[in-house]
Symmetry: C2
């Protein structure tokens, strides 16, 4: 089977990266079919989007159209995926705050707003290759055309519709959403995608098998070097609940057209589908919190996309553990089932963090995975701002690439962070700052933490230990502000994840 052709090497976090296998070999894991959520079917195919679109140019080089055609004997990577819930699912979403929102983002946010707290969706259509961004009114119409077509195909009036579909009074016309990633400023090749939709929505094509999920994850990929998919399973009350997460990392979509005319674009897309019975409003709050400490805490190059979207679906199809007792309520809400919701929120958060790390690990040119933990700040927002400033500093990222325990650059970037206001005002106290490099968990060398700055005073550094610590692929930086101007009242912390800046990044991003 395709997904088994990746060797799962049992990646050891503390092995020096230079000796490791490819990222695909290390980070693609076999999916246990029993951990996939119930009531979802997926399909994906190759629509030829990259070849269909041309950048807006006045000259067309003859070779441009054929550049991305794969070798005849090589199956092209799928670029369209459909995820269908057998019943209308509760839906939640978080979207880019970029002013220039792509058409699918505008469509989804408008649809969710119109649908209100009981919003339901039946399907998520995703394409890679074209972001449908900066495409104006035409872009919105293109998204709507495709969404309408999927809705019609999944409608119970369509005699070919998937048999498990159940009519639900709550479902509305907003029940298909779309996500796009790829080249911006170019119209979506609607005809190319449209002619795949009947195939994608056919009952014989929609599958619940791990192969189908992995292929869907591949359809999301742009310059990602591996498909990103993980599952979680847990017992909640009398239900065995599962979540599957797919995401894709920041990546250049048009590697052969990087010169003028090719509009490269990086986007974060993610979808989390669960069979837990959660209301839309509750799911939204769980997702907000999960994204706040996962996807909103990663950085590859500091550039926020026009298309960033994370969607979560909950269809309530989780099986009962004790079949004699099936009187679980239809949907859990925070007020009525706080324990269930809290446990679900923790599981979703944990999965979001794991999935966000995969994006950092697959960051363009990334050779290091760096965790920046800022402790004992005034507020979470202040700790987050400082961790973000450190994690996006080009100088820090170059130092990590060079395996240099450079506390000076860390301190400097912490010092110019733009701090959100708080009452009372909170400030960093230079004489209280500790910067320590921590050994990665489970490292075999039994290294001790390496303090480089204690109470604002530079420390004598054991060069041998520093060299060893920084040679790991995973670097853990601990910044303890000891409460700053609030003293013992300053106890907030935030964790950020970033990668290093390598020459490879410049090459990829030319």
């Amino acid at each position: 089977m395709w997904y088994r052709t990746f060797r799962t090497l049992g990646y050891t976090i503390c092995r020096p990266y230079a000796t490791c296998a490819t990222k695909a070999e290390r980070f693609v894991k076999t999916i246990d079919p029993s951990t996939l959520p119930r009531g979802y079917l997926v399909s994906s195919t190759y629509a030829g989007i990259k070849n269909a679109i041309r950048p807006v140019t006045s000259t067309n080089e003859p070779s441009a159209a054929t550049t991305n055609v794969p070798h005849p004997q090589e199956a092209p990577k799928p670029d369209v995926a459909l995820i269908v819930s057998s019943v209308p699912a509760a839906i939640a979403g978080t979207f880019t705050t970029n002013v220039f929102k792509a058409a699918p983002v505008v469509h989804a946010t408008t649809a969710l707003k119109a649908a209100g707290p009981n919003a339901r969706v039946r399907a998520i259509l995703t394409n890679s290759g074209c972001a449908n961004a900066v495409t104006g009114q035409q872009g919105l119409e293109d998204t709507q055309t495709l969404v309408n077509r999927v809705q019609a195909l999944l409608s119970p009036r369509n005699q070919n519709a998937i048999p498990t579909y159940e009519q639900d009074a709550r479902s509305s016309s907003t029940d298909v959403l779309m996500m796009s990633t790829g080249v911006i400023g170019v119209r979506l090749p609607v005809a190319h995608i449209q002619r795949c939709l009947e195939h994608l929505a056919a009952p014989s094509i929609l599958q619940s098998h791990p192969d189908a999920w992995l292929e869907a994850a591949r359809a999301y990929m742009t310059t990602d070097t591996f498909p990103k998919i993980r599952t979680r399973q847990f017992i909640l009350g009398n239900r065995r609940c599962s979540i599957v997460g797919i995401d894709k990392g920041a990546g250049m979509i048009h590697p052969r057209m990087t010169r003028s005319g090719g509009q490269l674009h990086a986007t974060l897309l993610g979808v989390f589908a669960t069979d837990a019975p959660i209301s839309s409003a509750t799911l939204q709050r769980c997702l907000d919190e999960a994204v706040r400490v996962s996807f909103n805490c990663i950085s590859v190059d500091g550039d926020m996309s026009t298309n960033d979207t994370i969607l979560a679906l909950a269809n309530g199809q989780a099986p009962f553990v004790d079949l004699d007792c099936t009187d679980t309520p239809n949907e859990w809400t925070e007020t009525e089932h706080p324990d269930m919701v809290n446990k679900f929120a923790e599981e979703l958060k944990s999965l979001c963090i794991e999935m966000s790390h995969l994006i950092v690990r697959d960051g363009e040119g990334a050779e290091k995975f760096v965790q920046v933990h800022v402790r004992n700040a005034g507020t979470y927002e202040q700790a987050h701002a400082i961790a973000s400033s450190i994690s996006t500093s080009a100088l820090v990222k170059c130092a990590m690439h060079g395996e240099d325990a450079n506390w000076g650059r860390i301190l400097c970037s912490a010092g110019y962070a733009s701090l959100p206001a708080s009452t009372p005002a909170w400030t960093l106290d230079p004489s209280k700052v500790n910067v320590t490099f921590l050994p990665p968990p489970h490292q075999p060398d039994d290294l001790a933490p390496l303090p480089t700055l204690v109470n604002g005073v530079p420390q004598a550094v054991n060069e041998t230990q520093a060299k060893k610590l920084l040679s790991y692929e995973d670097i853990y930086v601990d910044v303890d502000l000891q409460g700053g101007s609030w003293g013992s009242q300053g106890r907030s912390e935030a964790t950020y994840w970033t990668c290093d800046f390598s020459k490879e990044y410049i090459t990829v991003r030319w």
Copy 2:
């Protein structure tokens, strides 16, 4: 003479950079002695600071101490410079807003605050090689020790003091300031610097010759590839006024010790000395405005240093044009001499802009000089925030390096700029944005502007023209927001200057 050994090639801005001479050959210009301000003397020498300091390590490699010793036949670059005014000069300063301010920054800001609006200085002592940052109370004491020593040497009670010195009742004990740049977290080698001071302050060593000024500019350099010095001369009323500016660009100070232990650091230092008669308070306002639109509008790598300092001195020694009419007031102030002050402010601003550009051109690994002009925003601060966001985007900087007219990345980075609030609120309107690449001034190819986005709609791009425009060393990006949500009321503009991101940057910053 040393400064004439650089060929001044009459740099043509539109020549493709690949065919150009070195940056030193292109950007070091001969100084006309008659354009230097009156009443200033300078000296510089090699104190061996880089060799004197050792990073805080537990192991000392034998080779470390000798790494930076120059070839015996090669004169070492000076690393200490003294600029002395023959009379106490009005003083103004702008300093880094980084929380972790270096000792000389704390010393200077404290001294200027204590001295009040009539602050006067006699001398500026500058060293490169050691930033005296993150050195705590000891660092402050070290700065004070050196400042005290220079004061004693320049005191009229010292019989060797320079003969032109005139006692001034207004001068106070705060009349020597210091600037430092280099390695951080390491104590200043006070003894090494101190033993040079008598030499530096000796009347036979202090000079007003262009050679002496150029050597002082060299003393400021860290990884700068050329000394940065320019002059301005202009008639104000009955006075022929001059300004000389020296600055140094962001640079790694310890290229041989970039691995753990070496704490690399980038700093912007600048000094502007004029013989115009300007009061300290007025000089401060002129400097604030000049820095706001020059040094605060450049970016090399987006990292703000702990040592950034710009100082301005005005000693009132400008010669009279008409010697029969010498009744000019002692000092010009904004309220009493607005025309004089406005003209002076324009000259200072123009010089600051020129000097700030030299830093961008000498940016580490920089091969392109990029001007980002944002027009028709709500407020200056909003235009500045958008221009800054575009100029610090790694993706935009990579695109400029790759000579890619990538309006998508420009738009995207404009879209996530963190906008300062205004009343009423102002927002970007995606349907009004124009992005145009402009031909550099005086380019011989007579190229037309290249609109890539008009009213938010991507334009067909003439590939040949785009290729030509982007092949220039200087790239001009014009972003017209057409007033955004304020319509015709949105008329503010800001200009930012940045460089590209090259593989060379990663190499330098390892």
